[in-house]
Subunit: 272 residues, 2 copies
Amino acid sequence: MDNRPIGIFDSGLGGLTALKELRSLMPGEDLVYFGDTGRVPYGARSVETLRRFAMENIRFLKSHNVKMIVAACGTISSIMTDEMEQALDLPFTGVVKAAAKAACRATKTGRIGVIGTSATVQSGSYARIIGAERADAQVFAHPCPLFVPLVENGYIDRDNEVTNLVAKDYLTPFEEEQPDTLILGCTHYPLIAPTIGKIMGDGVTLIDPGREAARFVKEYLAAHQMENENKQGSTRYFVSADTQDFDAIAARFLGHRLEREVEHVEVDSLTL
Amino acid sequence: MDNRPIGIFDSGLGGLTALKELRSLMPGEDLVYFGDTGRVPYGARSVETLRRFAMENIRFLKSHNVKMIVAACGTISSIMTDEMEQALDLPFTGVVKAAAKAACRATKTGRIGVIGTSATVQSGSYARIIGAERADAQVFAHPCPLFVPLVENGYIDRDNEVTNLVAKDYLTPFEEEQPDTLILGCTHYPLIAPTIGKIMGDGVTLIDPGREAARFVKEYLAAHQMENENKQGSTRYFVSADTQDFDAIAARFLGHRLEREVEHVEVDSLTL
């Protein structure tokens, strides 16, 4: 057993969807969440800058004595190198790897769709990991850049007319490409999974990267006897921007109000 | 006469709508644009951080020997103090002040509507300047947070179904409040002015802050004999993030392709 917390980080608050899955699968684990809201969005940054941000965020989590780290951010997951992961000296998973492997297990036809931010789609990270896992798979990736602002502004109801119009527009290419599995390749997208699922149809399996990362963590901790023996774990939330609007937005991602107040981290204190 | 360039800065690329108006009103002026795309969005930053960013951006423009500075950013315009403006040792205008004064001139009923980002609306800056200018005016301000991502993703056609649905939703409160003048209080909004105007109706005058700032600059330069005597001015573009997608997005704001390539500025080189 190992009663240290699990660390989760993201460029913003979308990673809370992964935290929600971790909490649901592992009620006894202590969790430390860091959202780098002071430097969001990561999409327009250079790869060098993103690698530095990743190491800075990981260093912050390490200062909280975590036993394992989850990068709940598609962009960061896409640019972490094997060398970076090995240098951590801690077990690590990114949402991209966990979701890509789950899609390879789920697909019957080998036709896998991916939706994500423009940065994630352009990085080709899903296609790369899927290709290494299952050489015969075909990957069809399309960016859905308006999904994040729609979710952040609460346009998440299954029948929301605006979100339905935008989603139909974005998902049209899949009618021809006919994937049987679709990766929701951005932490925000699970909140509109009902809308996406309705358009894609029952024959398509949706993969939620946060849930897959949580499953990976649970299996890893069990296999290494690193589980927390407590019944009820605690959660701490840290962000690097102002904390004033955090509660309302966080509640949207978590599906419930916060158990405790968010704590502020100065961006300057992160810098390596 | 004064043949030095005019400097314009913004947190991102929205300020190009102001640059377009400057170019249109003053074909002979040289213009230097700086978009702080490496640190966008400014909305979630603390006021102290924003004031530092403003001074850093202004210092960058000063290094290009400008004769006047335009803050083409609602957020920055809202947090610049009189002391900061006086310390510049250069003529300065922000889009907020120019637009607020124009609205006071335009309104007959004294009922002025304002739409902008959540940060701009929460700052109350428009109401403050309008109140100082015209004590009997009533200001009705509403945030329209989805307008920026809609514009940035090209949902700008007058008949775009998504943008029309979202705009109708946001503009509904004005049906009761009945302003006769509406400030488009964010640099992105002039691109969807036809949609907004259609919903507001012919009786409502739309105020474009970029255009009003350009008018202010033109009048100021004329009054101080500071105009450029050349026939055809040049434009230089600088941004602090990757430059790869700049051309396509810039073309949307400018309504034409760039005359010359965008130049990159390292964020670290800006820091005071």
